[in-house]
Symmetry: C2
Subunit: 278 residues, 2 copies
């Protein structure tokens, strides 16, 4: 795997934002992070996260809550941010990403509330009972280039991700879903860029939906996604575990944990999503 | 237990909001829902939830994300709402609760993004692997009137809640915390009002902090709290389970589940909070 550095990678170029005026950022949603035709929700979150990190006095996302309003498409966008509060330890911000209708009016895609801080200022205290997920070694896991394709469809995002699924959560790809709402994978960026707090916002929403392993097919639109970044990730591949415990009434939750190579729990997220009708 | 009905209870009176103009609601934060001197965050959420349910085309909270900005005090408040999107199945709204500085300027306490819908319109489909928490019968659990007081301090909220803690998670009250980040309880309102989606917003933040069972003391300020209401609760007492798996770097998460008397998982929440320094 080629190794590029943070700041000079596909992910950094595609999440670049340009300050138009104070708190307002122009962006271009890249077609490189689409699943079928939809722009990945985690990629959008990383873009918004970058804008907020520039606008707020703190640069690291600690807690980011996103409500998805309408589906995004590749192309120009504008991110409008607002500083809600500037504190010593934490700042609170808000942001919306808009795209443009044919007549030029702004259409809101996603609205975000976020608390930002400084991950390097956190204490070293760790008292956790959480355990990293058990995933077979990376060379025994399955990626989009291992037929029968575990990630079917013409999804541009698969070229940009090093995503190797635990064979135990790949049954859906060969028509034999496990019936358990679990998905586990090794995760990295294809160009070898290491993880940072912004790329973690992508990571939590980058695996195939757990609904596939529950035997469901089709689009699983996110209603809400909150991510907590708990620690700056160490270099090296990440392990991601996603679990759905309650599918009911046409909705399901997806709980994601992201672990780094130093066995630290670096991110936790939960999303509420619509059950596919397929 | 006296039985009052939804709409005519302490909780309903204390979460009443008065429309000042379109989308703007006056409220009075009751001193009856304070812990020591702080107004309970879940009570604030219920107040805001009521305002949003009036302002939006849908009346039931499905997903409510709150970022806590400054500490609230009993007294007058104003809730300013905005309709972000009105959809067929879901609506998206935003709200802020403000109080007043001595010079009358508004000071923001809490900002919320929310997706609202109609819980009665959900399908009956339930495929869950989640299990209700195992809690001893209510008569074997401990409340604030069972000495040695499991809920010490002069907290007005204890009078308004039927909160009976699992003895296995009460060690902190007698100086012998279990060391596990778990808290379990039976929950109701003292006047017998049954649960509804609004009171569930209170329920998820009404138990003592799990940090107490981890041997920590003092105030555990919430940074962010997201609640998903998954089902309209059946009448009768609720069971609440709260778990902290990762205390690290001065922050911890609290994951709450609320189960109703029909064994349905009616609410899930997660909050990010600051570890007490005590």
């Amino acid at each position: 795997m080629a190794q590029v550095s943070i700041g000079d990678s596909e992910f950094d170029r595609d999440t670049a934002v340009t300050r138009r005026e104070e708190g307002v950022y122009d962006a271009e949603l890249s077609a490189g992070w689409t699943i079928i035709q939809a722009v990945n929700g985690g990629y959008l979150l990383a873009l918004i996260g970058r804008a907020l990190g520039d606008a707020l006095p703190h640069s690291d996302p600690f807690s980011v809550s996103a409500h998805y309003v309408t589906a995004s498409r590749p192309g120009p966008a504008v991110i409008r941010t607002q500083t809600v509060r500037s504190g010593r330890t934490l700042s609170t911000g808000q942001a919306s990403l808009f795209q443009y209708a044919e007549d030029g009016t702004e259409v809101e895609r996603i609205r975000v509330l976020a608390s930002y801080g400084d991950l390097d200022a956190l204490s070293d205290d760790v008292r956790t009972t959480a355990k990293p997920p058990s995933i077979p070694p990376i060379e025994h896991c399955l990626g989009s280039d291992d037929g029968p394709a575990p990630i079917p469809g013409s999804s541009a995002i698969t070229d940009r991700l090093m995503l190797k699924l635990d064979p135990a959560t790949c049954g859906w790809a060969v028509g034999a879903p496990s019936g358990k709402g679990e998905m586990r994978a090794w995760f990295g960026l294809s160009d070898g860029r290491d993880a940072d707090p912004l790329s973690l916002l992508l990571t939590v929403d980058a695996l195939p939906p757990t609904a596939f392993e529950l035997g469901l097919k089709g689009w699983v639109p996110t209603v809400e996604l909150t991510t907590h970044i708990r620690c700056r990730p160490a270099p090296g591949p990440l392990r991601v575990s996603i679990v759905t415990r309650n599918l009911a009434g046409g909705f399901l939750e997806e709980d994601a944990e992201v672990w780094d190579s130093a066995d630290r729990l670096v991110a936790q997220s939960r999303q509420l999503a619509l059950v596919p009708r397929g």
